[in-house]
Symmetry: C2
Subunit: 456 residues, 2 copies
């Protein structure tokens, strides 16, 4: 059974590891972790500080370090790898799957890449170099390049003998792929089909010919969608000539999906994917400030809009009290619409042709809810200020802004999609900027028009 620790046990163990490493007893520390699954070891090691992490990982055999690296998060892995000598690193990489090896080499400082590559075994080096040539967010970068290839001219018996000889090395042989002499993908069969067939049956007669595959350069998100669309456990990956170069498996796609979901959520807030709560302040500033400054600029435009109504405000200061609620509530209503649409686009449920259907629905929603919220705001305004005309203006502005927010909340992400900009890119932030402007113009504009009735 894998070790399941309570929080307290975990803290105790971390303290003990820290103490042992401090007293320079790394082999004692290693012994404490020995019985655990490498994934659990990696999870604990992530919680050590960088110095302890380095000490314990360096004390391990190359093979054990390699098994931990397979499970370590990207950031601690990178910190550890950056501190290694090229010789040691290449020895560790020897025990690591080629796709992870490529990821690790890709993160190295430019001047170290060549020296580490030179130290790898020739076949490994070739595979890693090929992987590094692929675009960073492509299916190829996530696939396992280790695939069991069966020749279409073989019989079932020959194929089984081949599998026996090859041993259970390749990671997850779920589907078996059949290729021609040029390694071009010809068909697929399951191991079960293979063992239940008569030994002399040619693979050609056993295999299914309709193989769903993806090109090696396909965007990782598209590849993930395809695997999910067809409900598959693995997708073969082929190059331009149709040669089988690897397999993208469902567990890799799980990681793609988590990365893509994080990206979408971060984009909404103008954050870079590499950001996390522990990013050093200076790095955070460099990454976050440009977006915040763009944001600030749009805020200045709000200030300009409001300041152009200063005359009105100085005469009817009560209007200022309702600025935030009208602008903000429009933003909240519209954000719901934008969120629905951005997510719908991301999971492939919404396409551009659905625009009018969505606008109709949002208009109906906006009018209905606008009536409710407008009426409530009117009542509150009357209670607070005792001014009938103010109450009317507040209610009408609230209703108007909610209706416009629904329209803007639909048009903005669909427009971004049409312009081939990722609709996840901060669209609720732009939306609330728009609803701020609309809200201020409505409320203060009406206030100016009805200044006399307001008693200003």
């Amino acid at each position: 059974m894998p070790l399941e620790l309570t929080d307290a046990q975990r803290d105790d163990l971390l303290d003990e590891l820290h103490r042992l490493l401090n007293y320079n007893q790394p082999s004692e520390a290693l012994a404490r972790l020995e019985s655990m699954h490498p994934a659990d070891q990696a999870h604990l090691i992530e919680d050590l500080d960088a110095e302890d992490r380095e000490a314990i990982l360096l004390a391990m055999s190359d093979e054990r370090t390699a098994s931990i690296l397979e499970y370590l998060d990207e950031e601690p892995r990178q910190v550890f790898v950056d501190g290694l000598e090229p010789e040691r690193l290449s020895q560790i990489l020897f025990h690591v799957d080629e796709d992870l090896a490529a990821d690790i080499v890709a993160e190295l400082p430019d001047d170290q890449v060549a020296s580490v590559l030179a130290l790898l075994a020739p076949e490994d080096r070739e595979t890693v170099e090929e992987l590094l040539d692929l675009p960073e967010e492509s299916a190829g970068r996530w696939m396992s390049p280790d695939v069991v290839l069966l020749q279409r001219t073989w019989t079932a018996e020959e194929a089984i003998d081949f599998l026996r000889r090859e041993g259970p090395d390749a990671s997850h042989p779920f589907y078996l792929y059949v290729v021609d002499t040029e390694r071009r993908l010809q068909g697929v069969l399951s191991l079960r089909h293979l063992i239940t067939a008569a030994p002399s049956t040619p693979l050609e007669n056993l295999m299914a010919r309709d193989v769903i595959s993806v090109p090696v350069e396909l965007d990782q998100e598209k590849a993930a969608e395809k695997l999910r669309h067809y409900n598959l456990m693995a997708l073969p990956v082929v190059d331009e000539e149709g040669r089988l170069v690897g397999v993208l498996e469902a567990d890799d796609v799980l990681d793609v999906q988590v990365e893509e979901a994080t990206e979408d959520i971060y984009l909404q807030a103008g954050l870079s994917v590499d950001e996390n709560p522990y990013t050093p302040v200076l790095v955070s500033l460099r990454r976050r400030v440009p977006w915040l400054l763009i944001n600030l600029t749009f805020g200045f435009l709000s200030a300009l809009i409001v300041s152009s109504f200063e005359g009105t405000i100085s005469r009817v200061a009560a209007l200022a009290a309702f600025m935030p609620i009208i602008a903000g509530h429009g933003g909240n209503t519209g954000s719901q619409t934008t969120t629905l649409i951005v997510r719908g686009i991301a999971v492939g449920e919404i396409e551009r042709r659905d625009l009018f259907r969505i606008l109709r629905k949002e208009l109906a929603f906006g009018v209905s809810y606008g009536l409710v919220a407008g009426l409530l705001s009117s009542i509150l305004a009357y209670i607070l200020e005792g001014n009938f005309w103010l109450a009317v203006i507040v209610g009408v502005s609230m209703m108007g802004n909610i209706i416009l927010a629904g329209m803007a909340g639909s048009l903005l992400p669909l427009g971004m999609q049409a312009l081939k900009v990722d609709p996840a890119l901060a669209s609720t932030v732009w939306l609330t900027t728009i609803t701020d402007w609309l809200g201020f113009v409505l409320l203060l504009g009406l206030g100016t028009l009805f200044m006399k009735q307001l008693g200003g």
Copy 2:
């Protein structure tokens, strides 16, 4: 090869299907789809209107309808199923995997559940009933109950014979699970290991005993995390007695993950998971209005805060122009922090003990960026209004609100987590409410204190 259609081809095909169904030629329509993968057929059928959808699905054989249902989205599936007679439905369910059958029965109106269950084959009924007894978001509801079970007393040869007899029916036999006579999980082995072993080897000697499994009632999100943590393609699911009841596979977990990500994203905007852009207006209103009204109430509090400063505003109306930018920009900065932390908690990178480390970092960030944004706002305020003291007050309020926003942005999600409330629950919305209040109090409070200097 699967049919890959361009948008135009797709629209043409949909038009043609609509025309054929309109002219009452469903078998012609069916023939158009025949060569396609059921997943692609389902995707096209989803784009037909409900009436056409029903017509084409009803014209299919039960088996074909069943294969389409496996791929159809939940909403159109439910609409179609709701229109079926219990007899027809039970015939279709006969061809459907039991886990999907349970999902379909679970969505039926209460008065139909019993009659449909009564019409199922006895073994199917029993499995479906057992699945229906499980909590809705549990691992058991996502698992495949069809598992290949090998007895620990068997030899490799006996196991292979058993697999041959069973045929390639079970969905994805990636790992083979070994059980005792009570069906209790004892070990796991790969099909590859099995065929490479000497025929007389007992399974006991072949199997790995450290099997990572999940309890059937475990929350789906936790089960998904476990599969991902250990990088597995499948997790065996066991009941309280340790009996193997099903397998949770990586492709099921992909669906869990998409659902959970949608849930998190929707929670942020106060939306229900069942909501989508096509939800009927009345249903949307019922679901969305309660949250919006809570929101509106907090907006009224903002109005109260601002209205208590009406005296100040009527004398220095220029202050009103800077209310939105100070409140809004604090909200944007703090939202970045909240987004990072909420996501970090969701993917398990952040725990409560990290609070102080995060607060320190956010304080440093807030002070540094606060200085920049404060200075810029001061300059703008001076250009716009030519009032030195106003410029100072705007700059200080901006800086103060940014620093406070960073603190609030960290404390809010971590506090929600401590209170066992999902931190994804609209935390950026609460945060921007807080930053609104803080911004108004800072700006208008300082404005009131320095009224004389402002020339009010």
